[in-house]
């Protein structure tokens, strides 16, 4: 186990592409943190900086109090006691499954019967014990992924790095392997960094999520915090769907949209910002003139349905509301369906209205 600290980490490609733009991040013992963001946001570069494959142009990476990377010196990957799972699995095609898994042990002075024992035990952890003598070419994608996991874990690394490990798997397998990765993390408790662009993957596997955009960190927090109280418009829109309403704070806890509508806000949300974010499923739909009870805890708006798609478990509406330029997206309960043109009353809990900044 290890504690990792990234301080002012900077990586410039070419002359002026700031792929990783002076980020700070602290990762605890045994924590699994995911770097989430669109392609090109710098997450993979950050991971490769931590692994030691590339050198930073500024800042430093500190592992258990020792600097392992800074501008002038970089400890090579093989001396960091880390493991990495690659997007392509990177299983060596000329070695058997057992040889693949056992490869790293010889560099840690573990050979012979002890090495065999560890390889066997790890293969059984990933449910591959019967396939040790196979060559990778004879395995399915999911099995290769399990070999990669076993190979990374058998050396009991201080840090485990995962670079979009599930992106080459088909949808069903991907879902299964998400839980598998979390299960293995709970079993081995290794400090881990997980790079992904898939928010669901990040939610399921991580203790904390670090959302990145254009080389910078947008927000770091528990999955529920990231989802419920996003700090920026980017986070709100990247992690799930949302309604972003531009406007300004007119009085504490009251937000006035550019076109006049007013919202009471969640006091735990951001204190400054130019927009509010409202998740579509946090908006309740009622029939016209429904008695929703007057309360300080919820916003009430009247509007007209301009679109309603029935999905079985939900209904996806667009509702035009006076005082808002854009219609509101609303995910409603399907037991009561409102057709296009219906007048409806919407209620939004105060807690669901989050002030976010535009940057």
């Amino acid at each position: 186990m290890a504690v990792l600290d990234l301080k002012g980490l900077l990586k410039i490609f070419g002359t002026d592409v700031r792929a990783v733009d002076e980020i700070d991040l602290h990762i605890e013992h045994g924590e699994l943190i995911s770097l989430l963001g669109p392609s090109g946001c710098g997450k993979t570069t950050t991971l490769r900086l931590v692994a030691g494959f590339i050198e930073p142009n500024g800042g430093e990476i500190i592992m258990d109090g020792e600097t392992v990377s800074n501008e002038s010196s970089v400890i090579p990957p093989e001396r960091r006691n880390m493991s990495m799972i690659f997007q392509s699995y990177a299983i060596w095609p000329h070695k058997t499954v057992a040889q693949n898994v056992g490869y790293g042990l010889k560099f840690r002075g573990i050979t012979g019967a002890e090495a065999d024992k560890r390889v066997k035990s790890l293969l059984s952890v990933v449910q591959m014990d019967h396939l040790g003598a196979r060559y990778p070419g004879e395995l399915s994608g999911g099995q290769q992924q399990r070999v990669a996991l076993a190979r990374a874990l058998v050396v009991e690394p201080a840090v485990l790095l995962l670079d979009e490990p599930l992106s080459n798997l088909d949808a069903n397998l991907r879902e299964e392997m998400r839980f598998e990765i979390r299960r293995l993390h709970d079993e081995f408790n290794i400090t881990s960094i997980y790079v992904t662009h898939d928010q669901a993957e990040a939610m399921v596997t991580s203790d904390r999520i670090c959302v990145m955009n254009s080389g910078k960190i947008e927000q770091v927090g528990k999955p529920s915090d990231i989802y419920d109280i996003p700090a920026t418009k980017f986070v709100a829109e990247f992690v799930g769907v949302t309604n972003s309403i531009p406007g300004k704070i007119s009085s504490p806890e009251l937000f006035e949209a550019d076109d006049g509508a007013k919202f009471m806000m969640n006091p735990d949300g951001g204190k400054t910002g130019e927009l509010v974010s409202i998740r579509p499923h946090r908006i309740q739909v009622h029939s016209e003139n429904a008695d929703v009870g007057g309360s300080d805890a919820q916003n009430v708006l009247d509007g007209e349905v301009t679109r309603g798609y029935y999905f079985g478990s939900t209904v996806d509406y667009l509702v035009k509301v006076p005082g808002l330029n854009e219609p509101l997206r609303v995910i409603g309960d399907p037991h009561e369906f409102f057709g296009v043109g219906s007048k409806v009353r919407l209620t939004i809990e105060k807690a669901a209205v989050i002030l976010v900044s535009d940057s």
């Binding site: 290890a2 692994a51 030691g52 494959f53 050198e55 592992m63 258990d64 020792e66 600097t67 392992v68 002038s72 010196s73 970089v74 400890i75 090579p76 990957p77 093989e78 001396r79 960091r80 006691n81 880390m82 493991s83 990495m84 690659f86 997007q87 392509s88 990177a90 060596w92 095609p93 000329h94 490869y103 790293g104 560099f107 840690r108 990669a148 190979r151 050396v155 201080a158 790095l161």
Partner: protein
Amino acid sequence: MTQDAQQLPGTISGGEPSATKKFDYTIIVWVVLLILLIILVANPIFQLFKESFFVSEDEAGGFTFQNYIDAFETDEYYKPMYITMMLAVSVGSISLVVGAVMAWVVSRTDIPFPNLIRNGILASFVTPPFLGAIAWIFLAGRNEGWLNKWIRGIFQLSDEFYLFDIFTMKGVVFAMSLYTFPLVFIVVLAGLNNISSDVEDAANVAGGGTFNTMFSITLPLVAPSLFAGFILAALEAMILFGIPAVLAIPAGQHTMTTQLRAFMVSEDDLLGLASAYAMPMLILAIGMVWTRGIVLGRRGYATVGGKGGQRRPQKLGVWRLPIFVLCMVPLVCAIVLPSLALLTTSFMKNLGGGLVWSNFTLWNYHFILTNDAVRESIYNTILLAIMAATGATIVAAISAFISQRKLIKGHQYMGFMATAPIGIPGIVLAVGLFAAYTKQPFVLYGTLWIMFLAYLTKYLPLAYQTANAGLTSIHPELEESCRIMGANRLQVFKDVTIPLFKTAVIASWILVFMPSLRELSASVLLWTTNTKVISVVIVDFYEETLLGPISALGVLLLLITLVAIAVGFRVAGRDFMRSAG
């Protein structure tokens, strides 16, 4: 805290990236490669240019256009250019039709044994063109040719009658086409296989019939491949030396390559004239390679195979067998008949003596294996082929590795440098090497080294493309995963890179070794008494009409080649010849 982490403080300054900052080894790599490129390409071409503007006999004469005037004014020198152009266009067109039709048949129809046809066409690279031409003299010579005799025998015709005469320009076109149509076949087959059959199915669904689909969809899509194939075949016809030397000169005709050689072996010093004469060939050849690159786009060289998924082959119906037989004709003419003819002749006392016991002899083999000059040429050939294959493979493997792994600054130019000689015709390169390395301070003429340089330059692009294709299939993450598991760069190289790269390296070695065994167009200008190679001896013997020993040498050459191919198949897998195209 782990043990490794505790070792960290002492190792920080030893980190590799910082080590590279202290000593920038990229400079060494660049200097070495640049020197190599200057020796192999830049200097010979520069000397060629320089010589073309000086009158050779008159050292004090200085700069002149006289060579160009001589080369392009005289009818005698102008005619070979015309003949060469005619040859290039005819051979290119015939190859285009034969190669493209066969590619379509193999790729899109239910022809029986498509793999036999495909592999047979690949195998026609095995016979050197000059040997094929000589074999065709035995088969289709006007008086003694077996095919003519056979027809006379069947139809009881007089000795005056002949059906085939290989010593004509038609004969030259025929013999050349046999060895150039495979180039079209390979490029067009790759083009066809890269077109998803969904595209054709879509046209069928939209109401287009088989032929409508072929003309309005398939043909336009493979048009770049067709054009590239034509260019390749025409270029080959233009720069071939062996076939015109064997067939055209007896017919009283010169092509540009044979005329170039005539200048070089002339009693007078005609180096300046030869250099000027080589210019249009050089410019045309480079222009053609360049055009082909543009037309094919980034798929600069094509591989047989490719994707495309399931196909619905066109039904040939009753034409299935006749078309199969028709497809076998070029293969029989290119491989089966010539090999049989050489093999038979090599055991004959007298070429016209027929297949009878009294005509059987081992003398031809005895002669070539006991004659000192021949034995030395066999030794030289094998030595040179090994040197060229090893040299080209080492340079190719290193530059491909640097290029793919982006190891040094400017890695993106590595591929361009290694493939720079691709457009230079062998015989033009030889004139350049002769101009560059016959005078002080670099006298290489008369040694095997100058031939080594020629072979190395000529085959470096092929070796590079093979090595590069092999490396492309090794994902960098395979090496990085090894690194993070605890291996240093050297161990990664030993445990992952070499085992995975080995096959491509062996394939590239064999792909250079094979053509080096029979290289003629450069050797024929660069040999001296002590540095003869088998191909040069064969041309020598041909001029002395020692046809029996030629056949024996030819059989020996084919045997060595076959052994190399067998080793290649065994070590590098059955597809190692793919990049030969």
